[in-house]
Every structure is written in structure tokens, then in C-alpha cells.
Symmetry: C2
Subunit: 341 residues, 2 copies
Amino acid sequence: MNSPVTPARRATIRTVAQAAGVSTATVSYVLSGRSGKAGSPGVSSQTELRVRQAALGLGYRPNQAARTIRTGKSNLMMLSLTMLSDPWSLSVSKAVGAAVADVGITPMILADTDWRTAIRRQGADVVFIDAADQEGDAGLLAELAGSNRLVVFSETLEPNGFDVVRSMAGTTMDQAMDHLTATHTKVAALASTSSLKNARAGRYGAYVRGLERAGLALQDKYVATFDGDELSAYQAAVQLLSQPDPPTAIFATSDFVGIAAIHAAQRLRLSVPEDVAVVGIGNTLQGEAMAPSLTSVGPAGFFDGLARFLVDRAKDPSAPAQVLEFPWQLFVRDSAPGSTH
Amino acid sequence: MNSPVTPARRATIRTVAQAAGVSTATVSYVLSGRSGKAGSPGVSSQTELRVRQAALGLGYRPNQAARTIRTGKSNLMMLSLTMLSDPWSLSVSKAVGAAVADVGITPMILADTDWRTAIRRQGADVVFIDAADQEGDAGLLAELAGSNRLVVFSETLEPNGFDVVRSMAGTTMDQAMDHLTATHTKVAALASTSSLKNARAGRYGAYVRGLERAGLALQDKYVATFDGDELSAYQAAVQLLSQPDPPTAIFATSDFVGIAAIHAAQRLRLSVPEDVAVVGIGNTLQGEAMAPSLTSVGPAGFFDGLARFLVDRAKDPSAPAQVLEFPWQLFVRDSAPGSTH
DNA sequence: ATGAAAGCGCTAACAG
DNA sequence: CTGTTAGCGCTTTCAT
């Protein structure tokens, strides 16, 4: 029974050094794993062993804050994911998780939190921001980029000290609409309330233009809006499909909306795609994995590509800012198989 | 055009001090917001203003790592959530997000990552671990508790330097089974492969015992297993319900499984609860929010209570370790309304 | 009311 | 091969 006079003060590099009978420098060399590396002194395997044993015995664990302050590297990757329950966010998280295996980087998610305030408080080697299309953010981002390596997902922003990840939709949303109008005349849209502001731009705009190209009228009863979460999308879809003369195809402005629409249809005992076809936007893993799998437009190899890019930036935060583009394509799957059936 | 000779070195407390013509101590007092606080010196409002303006002009932002090393507080809360897509995890995240508003704490999620290695690298004022039932973790947790404030969710572990959050299931799972067997004779279970190991323990055990109490036979065809993710659960449910003589009630060992089961039923044009009733376990927000709402057993006020507890611990990491218990109850909702219909 | 100065635990020159 | 030493940016006594 050794009396715990000192209240278990956490072991530091110095404690270890004393126990091993060496200097703190030696301990540092050994424990940060660069004994024999280029440019650094080597340590004899005997002392190395002594140091390791002392560290183990004392339960030594390096103080990350101290290491960070000294090296300027935190080995942290921050992911600001605005809507965590969105399969898009989950796909990002999953891909990143796979990409950081074996690299000494810890990914941490900032969920449903305002990055604008959070980033000021917490640094990271690289921080990914999933939503910053608004004009007002451009200045703030440029400012924050001074002290953090930022990777911003945005269709409109230009790199400015920070990287911009962009998924080049091009005309693929138009393709998706044409895909639907080729076999359907009652095509509905399921759009978030916010996306309606710009009737001819963005995802909803693709719907409007698609109808025009097909010579179909834009009808109020075929445009349903929701508030942002799954339940709201689900309810909007139920409403859309319960009316007399319901649509036979739904253009959903997001994969999670498309998924909700499929669930809603099935709830109403409608078959997908026989009674109602559904396309989503985003090409998420969850859309692909569900049954029936969701036809969607979106970037190919996006999540893995993004994850790799983030890891690269974390390892070399001083690389020049660039744009990373992922061209989109139409992924025809079960929920809207096209004209074959 | 001022020539950027110095490559935009980030402003420190010293830079600010020079610009304002004061000492670093004064800057520290002002900027860490305790000019007039008890025990600390006051700063005249004039100098305070000068300091603030200098800081603003220089775009000064405090270095968290330095602050952490000095104070020992990181203002960080780490949430290790093993299966992020599980509504349980999302509920935790949401509740915590709401609880930290206005408090100076940033919650960060460690998703689908092994906390065993990650915690060694990254510290936080408090870290929540959502899965640690295995015996082997007890020692490791006790060790880690030496340098991190740990809050562990576990039904079996006892506090040992770390807090244990526990939801006292008691006999509520039995109640849930009785709820089903009161009006059904074909009651199926949807359980994860791992939970089957202990046939009479845990959630699956409640199913087995429930059948016994009702005098019903345990039949293989009414026991479906899945692998851990939604898709797998969904497919298992489809299989369960597509067979000849399908069950009329499903006991799902998790809310997300119950949700998947409802989706599967609807896919098969079965009505919930008319054709098949479903109960889940966990009482998550998502189960409550879906349509039809999911009958579930689980703790009352769990997520908000947990969030509050975590915030308390973050603010006072040296509070004595304790057990936090949330007694369960049965929440009868639309997916299994009971004998009234 | 303000400043000087001592570190927190660690890394990285530089000396020996 | 190993030790000495000077800080990283910040907080916090203790003087003034």
C-alpha cells in the first residue's frame, strides 16, 4: 500500500525522464517515434527500451495540447456537418472514417452547430464546412482561413485561402428530369421551402425547366414543400400522393427527401417504381443501399474523393488552395428504372 | 499596399499588448473576460477598450492549445457514438447540442471510431462513451479515467473513477412483450446477431421469457436476425413478413430496428399497426416523430438528462464519480396501440 | 489598476 | 548517442 500523498498527478515527459534516468529530450525522441528518422538523432535501443518501460510503468500519456502548441499540428480533422441525420452527412463521416485509418488523424464531427462560432474556439489541422453558399460567409471564411485550413463545400464560392469542393452538377439534373418526363406526365417536385426562393435557379429550377422542355404545365398541386427534416419531407410526400390524381413520378431535391418519399409511397400501399417513380439528388450511400435503391444524380466517387482530399490537407495544411470538382452523373437505379419496364 | 514581409503570422496576446501599449497580463484579463470578476484585478474601461480594439484590428484569436495547457480545461466535450446513424446517437447529439447553447462548451462527435485509441490522442473536459459493456473495457476505462473525465453508458459496469449512465430497464421489456402478447399470438423478434449469444439475457431474453409467460412457443421462423445496420434490419424484416403465415407483431430490439420494420411492412403493403404491430426499444426522438409513431420502451427524459449531466461534468470535471439512472417505462404509441383498437 | 515574470508539457536546435 | 536550453501562447501570482 503506497500512500497516495500526491493525488495521482499525471505523468509528464519529465517524470518519465527521471524514472528512466535520461533527459527529457531523449524521452521526447523515443515517445514521439522519431528516434532514427532523418534529421533527428538516433537513440540506442537500450535507452529506448528503458524509456518505454518507464513510460508504461508510469502510465504516461502525451499531453496533446502541449504538443500542439509546440508543433502547430493538432492531428485533428474537424467536420462541420449541418444536418447530421442527412445521409449525405453520414456518408461523409463514413468515408472519412475509412480514410483516416492508420493515418494518425482523428476526425471529429461538429454536429448541427454553427461553425461560425465554433471554429473560433477550436482549431484543427483541417476543417471541412458543408454549408456555406451564402454570400455573407465569403469574408468570414477568408478571415478564418488565416488560422485554419478550411475546405468548404460550395457551388458558388471561389477559393480564397481556403479550398472549395464543388460537385459539378452541369446538366445532370436536367437529365434526371428528362429521365422522368420520358415516361411520365404527372411529375411532382418535393422541395425544401428555402429552395423555392429562386424559382429558376438550383434544384427546383431544374424541375421547372424540365417540365418546360417536356411541354408539361407547372401545377401547384404537384409542388410540395417541406421544412428541412425527414418527417416534414415524409409528410409532404404523403400529402402529394394522397390527393386525387396523384403524380406518378417525384423529383426530390435531396436523397433523404427521395428516401422519405419512397417510405411515404409504401406507407400508402403504392409500389415504387410501378405506381410512382422517385429520383433523388446527391447519390448517397444510403440511397444506393435502400430497397428499392434510389435513382439519383450526383457526383461519382465523391465521398471517398473528398475524404482523401481532407486527409491530404490535414497532412500538409500549407498546400495551395484549390478547387476540387466532382462531375455529376445520373445513376439509374430501381426507384426510377427508365423506359425498360 | 502594405508589403506582407511577414507571412501573416497569427496575432498573439503579445502582439495585441504591444499594439494597445499594455502588458500581456492586461490583455489576458480583458480577453478572457474576467476583468472585474472576484479574485481578479479590475481593468479600467479605457484600457479595456484599447485592448479590445487592438485585438479586433489584428484579428486576434486566442490559441486554444495554449489556454488548455495552462488552465487544464479544453472546453471540449467529446461524444463517442459507435453507430452514428442510429437514432439513439442522433438523439444524444441533438440533446447535447441544445444543452451546450450559451455555455462555452463545444461538443464534438467521435463517430464510428474506436474510442480506445482515439481518447489516448485527444483529450476533452468530459468524454461520453456510448458502448462499453464488455468486461475487457473495465480496466482500460479505469486507467483512462485518470486523465479524462469519462461518462460511460453501460448497464453492467460500476463507476470507478468514471461515471456510469444507466437506463434501468427493470421489467419494462417484459411489459412490452406482455403488451404484444395480450392481443397477438404470432409475435416475432428482430434481433441483432450479437444479441443472440445469450439466449436468456438482454433484449432477446425478454422476448423469450415473454413468449413463455404467454404460453406461446418459441419458433425459429419468428426469430429474424440482422447484422447491425439499417439495411440489414430492413431486409430481415422483409423476410420475416413475406413468409407464409407471417407474424402479426414484431418485438424489435432497438428503435432503429423498429423503424426499419415499419418501413418494411409498408413496403409490403401491410398496415401498421392493423396488419402488424411493432414495438422498439430505446424511446428515441426519431421513433416518436415518425408516422406511425413507434411504441417503445425506454428511459423517460433520458437524452436531455444525459446532456445536462455531461454539461455539468464538463464544467466541474472533479466531481465525484456516480451512477446516473433513468428508469424505463413503456411508451404506447401508434405502431402498437394496445387493445383499444 | 497595471506590469514583470514564472511556468504549463512539450519539441527542436544546438552542444557536447 | 545524449543532455541543455530556449521557447510555443497563454494564465496567474506577486509586486508595484
